[in-house]
């Protein structure tokens, strides 16, 4: 049973546009929602994370929007650049337990 559902599977955005990736979760006990960025041949790296006491967190061009009632969260990349082309994973965690990852979104930014 997939506890974190991520969409879309792939996304193509023009340079300067907004990239939006969505995730939905089922376990209401989750209290940590990170996004990881992975470049080809590299391990994933934490990009930005949010906890459910806030509805939005912004770091530079990257924003997480969190909707607790809908059990959804999303990553917005403003002014998308070719260097943002990567695979993005959402995840959800609870206390000292494991992180559960989404299936990933391959983002391509075209000039």
């Amino acid at each position: 049973q997939q506890q974190v559902k991520q969409s879309p599977q792939s996304l193509i955005v023009q340079k300067g546009g907004i990239s939006i990736i969505n995730c939905a979760y089922e376990n209401t006990a989750f209290d940590y929602f990170p996004w990881y960025q992975q470049f080809p041949g590299k391990g994933p790296a934490l990009l930005i994370a949010i906890r459910p006491d806030v509805s939005e967190k912004k770091e530079g061009r990257f924003t997480i929007s969190f909707n607790k009632s809908a059990k959804q969260f999303s990553l917005h990349i403003m002014d998308s650049q070719p260097g943002d082309s990567a695979t993005y994973f959402c995840a959800a965690g609870e206390g000292n337990e494991k992180l559960t990852f989404g299936t990933g979104t391959r983002l391509t930014i075209i000039p």
Partner: protein, 113 residues
């Protein structure tokens, strides 16, 4: 980069042979994880450790075993490799556990022929 190394980085082996992958950290973090990454499945947890000699299963643990005799080393063993275990394996570490940042190693690409 967090001080995590994985060895080997690439390996080709035959069906039925045993394989051990090593993860080494220099951060003295308590938690260590083994994931496999496959197209369409994202990152799936195989096993994890919450201290020396303390390990637990993840969602895809069948066919894998782990050991952690020292804080810095976490070994993943495939007792008898199968073609379905062809994958990229990532080790990760975390100071405080699941609901906190995990740092990933560079990965090991394993091919079972």
């Amino acid at each position: 980069d967090a001080g995590i190394t994985q060895s080997p980085r690439h390996k080709v082996t035959e069906t039925g042979t045993p394989v051990t992958l090593r993860c080494h950290q220099t951060e003295n973090h308590r938690y260590m994880y083994w994931y496999r990454q496959d197209p369409g499945h994202g990152l799936r947890l195989i096993h994890y450790s919450y201290g020396v000699k303390d390990t637990d299963k993840g969602e895809v643990s069948d066919g894998y075993s782990v050991s952690r005799s020292k804080t810095e080393d976490f070994l993943l063993t495939l007792e008898s490799a199968t073609s379905s275990q062809t994958s990229v394996y990532f080790c990760a570490i975390s100071e405080l556990g699941g609901a906190y940042e995990q740092y990933f190693g560079p990965g090991t690409r394993l091919t079972v022929t």
